[in-house]
């Protein structure tokens, strides 16, 4: 392990993050809403920490091992969450230390769970910082670092591997920096498109930018307490649904489609994409019919809320906690499935669930054909035994982690429904749960210990368990 190299790389990430903090300062200068100085101070503090680390690390590491990759990525999420909380404290928006940390972690991991109320009256700079944190977290600030820092060189691949979600890692181009760049260009283009579309649909420019960032990052922070319910426009709701769905697709697919002139075919050939679309359609139909039967919602609310939860965004246009129990259970299950691998969404990812399902079917077919040679396939390619085993390992660990987080929550005195759903909402990076953390309320009422547990859950979910757990194994630290 190259500790100095790890520290230097973290330093680079922190400096990059500090530069990002200057943007909200500019926003506050533009709106003359004060707080610009607070952001400047936070930025300077962060930047100096980063510079010190770079100095101490003594220059770009010659090579990084895959272990260093895990360490950098895991530490980056923790450290950046910590530093991202500084503006919340300096501006006094969050009084307690834990609240600031919670808001920052929730943003960076694109969870979108909030402890803040009265968003409509908060200064624009703070709102912008929340959205921007989600946006930076969405594609992963680490991927950004790999993209803009060719000096990371070979080590970039290690970071990239540890960072990007999904069971199978695709390199889109021959060089990893090019891949990272391609991903960010798509991400940037989609965000700009979403911003312009929302603005044209009638949002104010500021709201459009914020919502574009949180939609494409599949985060779920809004600038209004009523979330998307604030806008009673079919256009805005429809566009948001489309951009949530787009951001929930594997970015590799977007890249492949872009190369072939946005052909629908390159999407429709993909097993994961087809399952994703089918799954969401089935959810909408089931939830829709249940809800309409009891007369507790309208079609546009149903579509919007279902897509928001199924992609793990966490926006809401109405309080779906009031819908019949069958629908809330389905939404709860949808959180776990999540979006596609390689997207900005959370959850276990559609491709993993699909592969686990196919693996199950394979066992059944093996009973019928005892001598059969049956492979688990995706996109007509066999998935080898090691990948399938890793999937089972992932599934079990994910569920165990979820269970532990939920149990720890209940230890802090939170009721059972809230514990179970808040743990799910955070570990899948969705945001709103049910019970006291439902779409109509916030996480503010939870005790500090519960918030700490949830922060842990969010980082765990964002790092897809393995990257974090690998640090806990003694073998990792042995020389």
């Amino acid at each position: 392990m190259h500790i100095k190299g790890v520290i230097w790389t973290l330093g680079v990430l922190i400096v990059l993050f500090a530069l990002g903090m200057l943007l909200p300062a500019l926003v506050s200068l533009y709106f003359s809403s004060g707080h610009a100085d607070h952001f400047f101070i936070a930025s300077v503090l962060t930047a100096s920490l980063g510079l010190i680390m770079m100095k101490w690390g003594g220059g770009s590491p010659k090579r990084l091992s895959h272990k260093d990759g895990f360490l950098i990525v895991a530490l980056a999420w923790v450290v950046l969450s910590l530093l991202g909380a500084i503006p919340f404290w300096t501006t006094g928006v969050c009084v307690s230390i834990v609240d600031g940390l919670f808001e920052s972690t929730s943003g960076l991991t694109t969870t979108g769970a909030t402890i803040l109320t009265g968003l409509d009256n908060l200064p624009p700079s703070i709102l912008f910082w929340r959205s921007m944190q989600e946006w930076l977290g969405g594609m992963g600030i680490i991927v950004l670092a790999v993209a803009v820092m060719p000096l990371l060189g070979v080590g970039g691949m290690q970071l990239f591997r540890a960072e990007t979600p999904g069971p199978v890692k695709d390199k889109l181009t021959a060089r990893v920096t090019e891949t990272a760049k391609a991903l960010w260009y798509i991400y940037l283009a989609m965000t700009m498109l979403a911003g312009i579309a929302l603005w044209l649909a009638g949002m104010s420019a500021f709201d459009a930018i914020n919502h574009a960032m949180t939609t494409v990052a599949i985060g779920g922070f809004s600038t209004h307490d009523a979330s998307m319910g604030y806008y009673d426009s079919m256009w805005i709701r429809g566009l948001t649904v489309i951009f949530m769905l787009l951001a929930g697709i594997n970015f590799t697919l977007h890249f492949a489609a872009m190369r072939r002139g946005f052909s629908i075919k390159s999407y429709s050939h993909d097993d994961e994409f087809r399952t994703y679309i089918k799954w969401i359609s089935v959810l909408i139909l089931l939830i829709g019919s249940l809800t309409l039967l009891t007369g507790s919602g309208t079609w546009d609310e149903i579509i919007f809320n279902t897509v928001a939860i199924a992609t793990t965004t966490g926006f809401a246009v109405s309080d779906y906690a009031l819908w019949p129990p069958g629908t809330t259970m389905l939404l709860f299950a949808a959180m776990f499935v999540g979006a596609c691998a390689g997207s900005t969404g959370g959850g276990m990812k559609v491709v993993r669930v699909l592969l686990l399902f196919r693996q199950g079917m394979r066992e059944i077919r093996r009973l019928i054909h005892p001598h059969g040679v049956i492979h688990v396939k995706i996109n007509e390619q066999s998935i080898g035994g090691p990948v399938v085993q890793a999937l089972w390992g992932f599934f079990v660990l994910y569920m165990v982690c979820y269970g532990i987080v939920a149990i720890l929550l209940s230890f802090t005195g939170v009721d059972m429904l809230t514990s179970l759903t808040a743990a799910a909402a955070c570990i899948t990076n969705t945001g709103p749960g049910f019970g006291t953390v439902g779409p109509a309320s916030t996480y503010a009422s939870l005790p500090d210990a519960a918030k700490a547990v949830l922060m842990f859950g969010m980082v765990l979910g964002r790092l897809e368990i393995f990257t974090f757990f690998v640090l806990l194994v003694p073998e990792f630290w042995r020389k």
Partner: protein, 459 residues
């Protein structure tokens, strides 16, 4: 004609034998002395021990004077390179190469005078697979061959003991067949193939070949009313393939496309894994095809089609016999060695496929003097099918066929006029520019060729 054959394997051996027996000067190159010895012992050819791609070996074999080169080694790349060398250094006129990999064959742009100079690509496995799939679609026929791009088909079938065809003369056939235009071009009785006369009577157990227009095949099969062709379409049938080699793989792939449910038994574990990866819906089973328990596990008694396609003749024959015991209605056996082909009928296995025969006829089609296309053999190979164009100067124009004097054992099975197909009767006449499908016995081949050289020119 001077012919150069590269590779003395199963295909090379057979072609060398055929060409040598027809009086050509044949040289065979191979790098295996034992195989060459076998060739030298069996036939009158020149053998050269060496590498097929080396200019020195080719020069030694007399490539400067060769008019035809047939590259039939087991390696695609060697064959392609050998054709290139023969083209660039020795200016050999016609080059044929055996290429098995479909990935190459699927890109016709690769081949041409300025690209890879190969005039004909032969793929025994692909040819065999193609004919198996074709037969699969016409189950009641034991053989099906297409001519003129599918406009005419020659269907081979057995006369079933209880059917309504047994005991009738050919002249009465069209009444039995509900007025459907067909022409019986070959008839087998007591293992003797010949071109039938109108008064020939069909007996149970005989085999015949019928010429029929491509669009009438469905109706013909309906009229024949065989038990197994009733009811089940390709998509509803259950097929069990034994052997996942090149042929088995291609057949499984094609059947998947028809929507058939396919099971494939392969004994090599590595190959089974490969097949499972590359086939989509086929159930790949690793095991021994002669294992009774395995076959019963896969419920062989409910199988509609049993295709034995391993590389091993004995396994194929035994497997087919086992399938027959389980009363599988339709069995296809792949047999390479000539000695087994003769035995098959005795064992009650009617449908055999031989990649070697198919390949040899594909090559011979191009070797015949002039350029005839659509030449193949029927039955056990005694009857040959030729396609030729009638020119304006031809002597056979405008004479009713009943009055036309053809050599004995030769018959016109179909006339292709533009896009139309005419299944002839006594009054039909050949017009200029018609294509004529001729069926003739191998021994009269020369006679027929000579007769038609005057008026009918092979092009």
């Amino acid at each position: 004609m001077n012919v150069l054959i590269l590779g003395a394997g199963e295909v090379g051996f057979h072609i060398a034998q055929r060409l040598a027996s027809e009086g050509n000067n044949v040289s065979v190159i191979d790098n295996d002395a034992a195989r060459l010895q076998r060739v030298a012992d069996t036939m009158d050819v020149k053998t050269i021990l060496g590498y097929a791609t080396h200019p020195s070996s080719l020069a030694q074999a007399g490539a400067e004077n060769a008019e035809l080169l047939i590259a039939a080694t087991t390696s695609d790349e060697t064959n392609m390179l050998a054709c290139q060398v023969a083209h660039s250094l020795f200016k050999v006129t016609t080059k044929m190469a055996r290429i098995r990999e479909t990935d190459y064959v699927n890109h016709p742009k690769l081949f041409g005078r300025d690209e890879l100079p190969i005039d004909l690509i032969i793929s025994p496995e692909n040819e065999a697979a193609k004919s198996i799939v074709k037969r699969f679609q016409v189950t009641s026929a034991v053989d099906a061959q297409e001519f003129a791009g599918g406009k005419v088909q020659l269907l081979g079938m057995r006369i079933p003991p209880k059917g309504h065809l047994a005991g009738i003369a050919l002249s009465e056939l069209h009444e039995v067949l509900d007025g459907l235009r067909t022409y019986v071009v070959a008839h087998e009785h007591n293992r003797l193939w010949r071109v039938p006369k109108p008064e020939t009577v069909l007996l149970a157990g005989d085999s015949i070949y019928l010429a029929v227009a491509g669009h009438d095949v469905g109706r013909l099969l309906e009229c024949m009313n065989h038990e197994e062709c009733r009811g089940k379409s390709s998509a509803q049938r259950n097929v069990l393939i034994v052997g996942g080699g090149h042929v088995g793989y291609i057949v499984a792939q094609q059947l998947e496309k028809l929507g058939t449910s396919v099971k494939l038994i392969e004994h090599n574990p590595m190959r089974a894994e490969w097949l499972a990866e590359h086939l989509d819906r086929t159930v790949v089973i690793h095991g021994d095809a002669l294992d009774r328990q395995l076959l019963e596990e896969e419920s062989i008694d409910t199988i509609d089609d049993f295709l034995a396609l391993t590389n091993d003749d004995e396994t194929n024959i035994l497997g087919s016999l086992i399938a027959k015991k389980y009363k599988v209605p339709h069995i296809v056996t792949l047999v390479n060695r000539a000695i087994y082909s003769d035995l098959m009928r005795e064992m009650g296995l009617e449908i055999t496929v031989s990649p070697r025969l198919t390949t040899a006829s594909a090559i011979l089609r191009h070797v015949r003097k002039g350029r005839i296309f659509g030449l193949s053999s029927l039955g056990d190979g005694t009857l040959e099918v030729l396609e030729a164009e009638a020119l304006k100067t031809s002597a056979i124009l405008d004479i009713p066929l009943s009055e036309l004097e053809l050599p004995e054992n030769a018959v016109i099975g179909a006339i292709i006029r533009g896009d139309d197909v005419i299944i002839p009767d006594g009054d039909s006449m050949v017009e200029p520019n018609d294509h004529v499908l001729l069926i003739t016995q191998g021994t009269s081949l020369r006679e027929v060729e000579k007769l038609f050289e005057v008026g009918l020119e092979f092009f």
